[in-house]
Amino acid sequence: MNLQHTGEEKVPARLDTVWAFVTDPEKVGGCFPDVVSVAVKDATHFDAVVKVGVGPVRGKFNMRVELLPGASKRRLDMKISGGGFGSAVDMTAGADLVDAGDGTTLLKWSGQAEARGPIAAVGGRVLDAQAQKLIARAFSNVRQQLTG
């Protein structure tokens, strides 16, 4: 089942600060909702274990994450794949960083996910809303980390 989501966060920090944050695996990994652990492999790769619960399906997902920073330092893409308890997701998430000019930065993000297995089977009912919430929370965590 394919899911598509978009959203926007206004981060009270300058663009290069935001850029440094979101391209740092250690930091961005910690912004994943319900993250249990982050293991950084190199500058653009890390593994994360996150708790997932959709309807009656609950457990831990092992995610492999690859960061794909754009040369312009204005665009970051992320490839996330992984799964657990017989389910799997492949996600791509991307954010455009826009200098709002007042010392703040706009994070215009979009994400799409493909879910398979039991987690997709409960999809029609709750998965869509849940995925939207999770992605939105990840970017709002970025904002919170950079606030104050």
């Binding site: 089942m1 394919n2 009656p56 799964g83 657990g84 308890f85 017989g86 389910s87 799997a88 493909e114 879910a115 398979r116 297995g117 039991p118 997709a120 089977a121 409960v122 999809g123 029609g124």
Partner: protein, 785 residues
Amino acid sequence: MTIEAKPLHAVGVAMKRKEDPRFIQGKGNYVDDLSFPGMLYLSLVRSTYPHAEIKNIDISEAMKVPGVKAVITGKDLEAAGLGWLPTFHGFDKQMVLAIGKVLFQYQEVAAVFAETRAAAVDGAEAVQVDYAPLPVVADPFTSKTDKVLLRPDRESKTNHIFHWEVGDRDGTARAMAASAKRVKQRLWFQRCHPAPLEPCGCVAYFDTMGRLQFHVTSQAPHVYRTALSLVTGIPEDKIHVMSPDLGGGFGNKVPVYPGYVCAIVGALKIGRPVKWIETRTENLTSTGFARDYHMDVEIGATADGKVTALHVATTADHGAFDAAADPSKYPAGIFGIVTGSYSFPIAHAEVDAYFTNKAPGGIAYRCSFRVTEASYAIERGMDILADELGMDAVELRRKNFIRKDQFPYPSALGFTYDSGDYHKTLDVALEKIGYTALLKEQAEKRARGELMGIGFSTFTEVVGAGPSKHFDILGIKMFDSAEIRIHPTGAGIVRTGAKSQGQGHETTWAQVVAEELGLDPQNIMVEEGDTDTAPYGLGTYASRSTPVAGAAIVMAARRIRERARKIAAHLLEVGEADVEWIDYKFQVKGVPSKTVTMKQVAFAAYTNMAQNEPGLEATYYYDPPNMTYPNGAYVAVVDVDRDTGETKVRRFVAVDDCGVVINPMIVEGQVHGGLTEGFAMAFIQEIQYDAEGNNLNTNFTDYLVPTSFETPHWETGNTVTPSPHHPMGAKGVGESPNVGSPAAFVNAVIDALSPLGVRHIDMPLTRDKVWRAIRDAEAKTAKAR
């Protein structure tokens, strides 16, 4: 010694089930109850992708999980020559564990063996599989285009599995063209699952003699033994298959599944017993589904409603492997019964089957190989014809029924129906439901805009596969067998090649033996499922127990009676020709005072047999001369809520004619169970896949099994038209209600909606589907105004 004579009439008696005391006390003996010292547990890694290339399988992390003893993959099995498993249908093979690619979601990819069930599951979780997704084919119509070839392993490079046809194609086309009235409708019998409450499972180990001891949830233990020997190369004498109590089967426990092969390989490799028990999700997503037939039904008729021709063209979705478990010569099962209870002068039926990225199966879910699909097609078709002709559905059926005097009736598609009295069975059902009063009520309600429907299904089944000249599985002819031993005290044991999954064989077979031999059914023990002791038989499915194994029991009992006659002659001091079997005992011809009972004869067989062979036992292998043709008339009354689409089955009358009834209580129980399954298919159940090939009904919250809360009240009745060729006149009943009822439910709902102009809705008739149909029909009417 005095042996008291008591009335021993056993057939036709509603004897309480001998097996029930252990079941209702929770003391049944199921595979998962078995435990052996050192037993390991098997958990299977399953594909999350419906179609993908396997780039790599990394088992290193799994091997680190505490308790994990071994992990095997498709490559390991392939190297051992066990990579593929022949399907029972005989024309395809199935991967045991995925080799190179996966073809459906939840396909078996690797097997993990561990000290505990939890460690096995943790180990399976730790196996890392890298997949490269491939395009998904989620329906047979996409498959048909061959744009994506699913099975490059096969010689023919197409997704088309087979074309099968029966009847007169050109003649049917001509008769159809000449018909004054023609109706045509596509009907989809959706993908369902038998969903036995006990999932599939096994325990395998090699004993100290190197003999495979295999405890398994099988409806056909002997076929398993032969198939396992052929697949693994283990000599058949070194395989002992035991099927203990089964918590339902319904066709799901006929095929041999990859989990079984993995358990045996693990037991051999590690040298310890291995248990494999499916989870609910594994059962629903990977082991034998049922139906998934898209049927284009066309009926021709005269203007006054006499049927002239029938054509049915079916597109079948068989999933990733052709594992339909049909008899060799019948790739589409016994779908040719599609002319039903009606006198069609000419007909043609064809089925084209395709591979898709879905679980394999197409098994006979409580039906005699595609008979449920066929019955649904003709019974829905007849209702659509009645509607188009403006005729009463009952009148149309009556007009076209095969008459009582036409039996044995040769059908246009090659069957010889053995017996029936369709008019009478229908009359009994109409009387029971009060049809005239219901029609009046319906007319009044329609005038008020209320939606009430009356639906019929007057089906004919074909069961008891089958005559050896037509039926075999993997080449083994579909006879069945019985062995009876009568002990000195007149107690006895009967063993058959059938295998009860809840049908009550322990009671029914005892009654049959008691009836034939004048013994007490309480002291006839029934044993099934152990290939070391039971005579070879093809097992229980396709309603074949009573027609085939039951007939073998009768014939074996009659052999015993012939042997007993010799001993009776000795006891009565007359010649054998002067002894006759009257009123459950032996009597000197014409001298009612000179008798001996079977109990007396049994004692003499061990103590005073004179020159006769000692002991009293017999075996019979029964090759049925024909199939049996149970039939029934079912009537459903359904109220539909116009605003919510909610349906309520207010009444349901099922009148079955299954020939001679052995135990009316068990027959009634079978009918109740089958109707409940028919109700579930008609209103609730569907195994759905999304366009990406995800199975969306993976557990009992998404695939509902009706409880007493949802299930309507059933009213049953019967007529008795004995089968002329079965030694007791019995026909079999276990599957009739599952076969006959879906059409009655759907016909009732469509009848309710017919004033709105709704012609058909595919099952399951869920609230939202019915509501949408009402809304669309009302919108259409409003627009027309």
